[in-house]
C-alpha cells in the first residue's frame, strides 16, 4: 500500500545521544538536519539505484540471443519517440527553487517479426538544484527493455518491465508487483516512480478469462529518500525510536541474492462476467520494505540495540472488481498480506517487530454526471490482524481521496484537484493542477502540492514542503 501503513517507510532510527551514534555508524553516518534522527546505513543501500536490477546473466544472454536470431532473419520495422519533460518546483515555505529537473526519455520499438516486438525505454534525469536527491541528482538508466511475442493466443513479455495490477488511483493494494521510488514521496507519477523489474510475464487465455503468470528473478526493492533529501521520512510514526539510554548498532542489510530461489512469482486470473470486470490475484514475493529486526543486549557501555534490516517473504492474496451503473462506476480492490512485520517501540519485545496479517481494501466511485466533468472518490482502509500496543501504526488506517476533473476546449485544457486525507491522523495532501495541451507535441502544466495536518502523519510530516510546480513536456 502506498499511503497508509506507516511503518513501512522505516528508513531511520531515532537514537540519542547523537555523537555516540555517529561513532557507531561510521564510516558513513547520515544526519537529519535539525533533528536527532539518524539515517541508518541501510538507507544508502536501499537508496542505491539498480543495485540488483541488473538482469540475471543467463536471463539477459537468453534475451539477447533470441533478439539476435530473430533480427538476423527478419526485416525489422523501427519506430522511435522522444519526450523531454522539464519541471520547475518552487517551495512556498522557503521561497526557494526546490527543483529544476529535466527528464529525457527516448523510446524505440522494433518489430522484429510480425509476432515479435522489442521495446527499449531509456531515461536521463537531471536536477540542477540537488535538494530532492542529493546523491543522485543526475541519473541515466535503461528503464524498460523487453520483447513481446505471441504463442498461439498467449502473450509473452520477457525483460525489464512494469506490471500493473489493480484499479485504484493513487493508492495501492494490488499494484505491488514492482517496487517504488520514494525520492519525491508520492508526488511523482507512478509511471515514473514505479521501478521496472526483469521478469517473464505470460498471459494465457482460458475460455473467456485470462491467466497471467509472472516470474520475477530480480531482487530490486523500494528506493527511499535519505539523509538530507527533501522527502526523507521524519515522522516518529514512521521510524522506530529507542530510549535515549540505549545505544544502537546497525548491521548490514540482508538482501535476498539467489536468482532462482529468491525470485518472486505471481498469478492473476481476469474475467468479464455479467458486466463485471473481476480479477483474482496472488503474489509470492519479498516485501519491498526491509524489516528492522532488533536485538537487545547489555554491554559495558550500557544497553545496546542491534538492528538487522532483512527482507522477508510475503504472500498477497486478493482481487479486484469494477462495473458501471448509470452515471456511476464502482470499482475496488481487496488484498490480504499474510506476513507483515510492524516495528514496535515496546522495549520488552524480543525482536522489535510484530508479525501480523493485514487486510486492505479500497472502494472507489467514479461519477460522470456532468458533461466533461469527472468526479472520483475512494475509501482506503487497512486492518492489522494481530495488533499490539507499541506498534508504529494504528490497528486501522483510513485514507480517503477525491478527484475532481473538468475538461475545456475539446480537452485541450484540463483543471483538476486531487485531495488525499487520512482520517485517523487528520493530515492530508491537496494537489490542484491545470494542464494545457498547446499542440500535439507540447503540454504545459501548473500546479501545487499542499500538505497539512499532524507532523507525525504520512502527509503532515511534509507540511513544510508545500510547493508550486510548473512543467513543460515536449514529445514527438
Amino acid at each position: 500500500m502506498t499511503c497508509s501503513p506507516k511503518e513501512h517507510y522505516v528508513v531511520a532510527y531515532k537514537k540519542l545521544p547523537v555523537p555516540l551514534l555517529i561513532t557507531l555508524l561510521k564510516p558513513s553516518p547520515w544526519r537529519w538536519p535539525g533533528s536527532s534522527l539518524m539515517q541508518i546505513p541501510l538507507n544508502s543501500d536501499l537508496h542505491r539505484r539498480n543495485k540488483n536490477s541488473a538482469p540475471p546473466n543467463s536471463f539477459l544472454k537468453l534475451l539477447i540471443s533470441v533478439i539476435f536470431l530473430i533480427s538476423t532473419s527478419a526485416t525489422a520495422e523501427i519506430s522511435t519517440s522522444l519526450s523531454i519533460d522539464s519541471e520547475w518546483g518552487y517551495s512556498t515555505e522557503t521561497n526557494n527553487t526546490e527543483k529544476f529537473e529535466t527528464t529525457i526519455k527516448p523510446e524505440i520499438e522494433i518489430n522484429l517479426s510480425r509476432e515479435i516486438k522489442l521495446t527499449a525505454i531509456g531515461r536521463l534525469r537531471s536536477d540542477t538544484e540537488k535538494h530532492i536527491d542529493r546523491e543522485n541528482s543526475t541519473t541515466r538508466e535503461l528503464r524498460e527493455f523487453y520483447i513481446e511475442t505471441e504463442i498461439g493466443r498467449s502473450f509473452l513479455t520477457l525483460g525489464k518491465q512494469q506490471i500493473v495490477w489493480g484499479n485504484a488511483d493513487g493508492l495501492k493494494v494490488l499494484d505491488v508487483v514492482n517496487p517504488q521510488e520514494w525520492r519525491e514521496f508520492i508526488l511523482d507519477d507512478f509511471e515514473n516512480s514505479r521501478i521496472p523489474l526483469w521478469a517473464i510475464n505470460s498471459e494465457i487465455p482460458i475460455a473467456d478469462s485470462t491467466l497471467q503468470l509472472l516470474w520475477l528473478p530480480d531482487q530490486t526493492y523500494h528506493q527511499y529518500a535519505t539523509g538530507n533529501d527533501l522527502y526523507a521520512f521524519t515522522s516518529a510514526r514512521l521510524v522506530p525510536q529507542m530510549p535515549a539510554a540505549v545505544n544502537t548498532s546497525i548491521q548490514a542489510v540482508q538482501r535476498p541474492d539467489k536468482t532462482i530461489q529468491d525470485a518472486d512469482w505471481g498469478a492473476r486470473l481476469a474475467t468479464f462476467w455479467n458486466g463485471w470486470d473481476l480479477t483474482l490475484n496472488y503474489l509470492y514475493h519479498y516485501d519491498d520494505r526491509p524489516v528492522l529486526f532488533r536485538q537487545l543486549s547489555m554491554t559495558p557501555s550500557g544497553p545496546l540495540a542491534t538492528i538487522t534490516p532483512r527482507y522477508q517473504r510475503n504472500q498477497l492474496i486478493g482481487g479486484s472488481f469494477s462495473n458501471s451503473f448509470g452515471d456511476i462506476t464502482l470499482r475496488g480492490e481487496i488484498g490480504y498480506i499474510t506476513d507483515r512485520y510492524i516495528s514496535t517501540n515496546m522495549i520488552t519485545d524480543n525482536d522489535g517487530v510484530v508479525k501480523t496479517g493485514e487486510l486492505s481494501y479500497v472502494i472507489g466511485l467514479d461519477w460522470f454526471g456532468f458533461g466533461d466533468t469527472f468526479i472520483s472518490t475512494q475509501l482506503f482502509q487497512s486492518h492489522l490482524k494481530n495488533y499490539q500496543p507499541g506498534m508504529l501504526r494504528n490497528e486501522r488506517d483510513t485514507t480517503t481521496t477525491v478527484l475532481l476533473r473538468r475538461d475545456f476546449n475539446n480537452e485541450t485544457l484540463t483543471a483538476e484537484l486531487l485531495w488525499l486525507h487520512n482520517i485517523d491522523l487528520d493530515d492530508g495532501l491537496a494537489r490542484p493542477k491545470v494542464i494545457y495541451q498547446m499542440n500535439d507535441n507540447t503540454t504545459l502544466s501548473l500546479g501545487a502540492d499542499i500538505f497539512y495536518g499532524d507532523q507525525q502523519g504520512l502527509f503532515g510530516q511534509f507540511k513544510q514542503r508545500d510547493r508550486v510546480i510548473s512543467a513543460i513536456e515536449i514529445a514527438f
Partner: protein, 266 residues
C-alpha cells in the same frame, strides 16, 4: 379570379399534402433501412482525426479501428497510434442488442497503464476531444431506434443525391439529457440509406452541430464513408474523421476485443 386561384391552391394543397406525405417512407421505416444497411460482419480501418479549433489550430490523431459483430452484439475497439502524447490510448465498447442492458465501455490510459471502466450514460460526452460523442462513435453510421421518435418531413438534394429529411426527437427528457440533444434532423440518402447530413439541436433549442458524411464509395461491395466532418456551432470547433485502408474481409480475432488487448495495444 384571384380569389379562385388562391382557393384552388388551398384545396390542391389540402388534398395533395397527405398524398405527398403518404408517398414518403415513415421515419421509422427510414431508420430501419439505415440500420439494415450492410456494413459487413467486421471491419478494420485506419481513422485519422483532424481537430481544428476556431483559431485554426489543428491537432491530428491517427488510430486503427476494429469492429465486429458477435451475434447481435457489436464490439468496437479503437487504438491510438500517434501522436506520442496519446499513443497507446485505447477505447472499447460492447454494444448489446438488448437496449435494456447498458453498454460496457473501457478506456486504456497509457500514463496510468490501467484500463478504466467508463459509465455508459456518459454517451453524450464528447469522445476524446473530438466533436463526436461516445454515442456517435458507437452508432457509427447507424441510428438508435429506441432513443428517438421520428417522422419524415420532406425531401432534399444533398451533394447531388436525393435524400429524405427525418426529424428525430428524444423519447423523453432523461434520454435527451443523456444524448445532449433536443432534436436531430437527418438527411438520409434515398438509395443507399446513408445519413448524408445531420443537424443536432442542443438542450436549449439552439443549433449545436452539423455532421456531413462525404466521399461515400463502395469498398468490397459495401457503401463506406471515407470522410465524416462535424462542425460544432457552439464552439466553432470542427472534427474530420478520415477513413482509409478499409477492410471488411480480413477476419478479426475475438481476442482483440478484450481488456488485455487494450493494455497491450497493437
Amino acid at each position: 379570379m384571384k380569389r379562385c386561384n388562391i382557393m384552388s391552391l388551398f384545396v390542391f394543397t389540402m388534398v395533395t399534402a397527405p398524398l405527398y406525405a403518404a408517398t414518403l417512407p415513415s421515419g421509422d421505416e427510414i431508420a430501419n433501412n439505415i440500420n439494415a444497411r450492410d456494413e459487413g460482419h467486421s471491419v478494420i480501418r485506419t481513422l485519422t482525426m483532424e481537430m481544428t479549433d476556431k483559431r485554426g489550430k489543428q491537432r491530428v490523431r491517427k488510430t486503427r479501428g476494429f469492429r465486429k459483430y458477435f451475434g447481435d452484439e457489436k464490439r468496437t475497439a479503437i487504438y491510438y497510434l500517434s501522436p506520442k502524447n496519446v499513443k497507446d490510448t485505447a477505447f472499447m465498447i460492447y454494444d448489446y442488442a438488448d437496449t435494456a442492458i447498458d453498454d460496457d465501455q473501457w478506456l486504456y490510459l497509457p500514463a496510468m497503464r490501467k484500463v478504466r471502466r467508463i459509465s455508459a450514460s456518459e454517451r453524450g460526452d464528447y469522445f476524446l476531444g473530438t466533436d463526436f460523442t461516445y454515442e456517435d462513435i458507437k452508432q457509427e453510421s447507424k441510428v438508435s431506434i429506441a432513443d428517438y421518435s421520428r417522422k419524415t418531413i420532406g425531401e432534399a438534394i444533398i451533394d447531388g443525391h436525393q435524400t429524405f429529411i427525418v426529424e428525430s426527437i428524444p423519447i423523453d427528457k432523461e434520454t435527451a439529457k443523456e444524448l445532449g440533444y433536443s432534436k436531430v434532423k437527418l438527411w438520409v440518402d434515398a438509395e443507399i440509406w446513408i445519413v448524408r447530413k445531420a443537424e443536432f439541436t442542443g438542450l436549449r433549442n439552439r443549433p449545436l452541430k452539423t455532421i456531413y458524411t462525404k466521399a461515400i464509395k463502395q469498398v468490397q461491395g459495401i457503401w463506406s464513408a471515407h470522410l465524416i466532418e462535424a462542425q460544432n456551432h457552439k464552439t466553432r470547433h470542427t472534427t474530420k474523421f478520415i477513413f482509409s485502408d478499409i477492410d471488411y474481409q480480413t477476419e478479426i480475432s475475438d481476442d482483440l476485443f478484450t481488456e488485455r488487448a487494450l493494455r497491450r495495444g497493437l
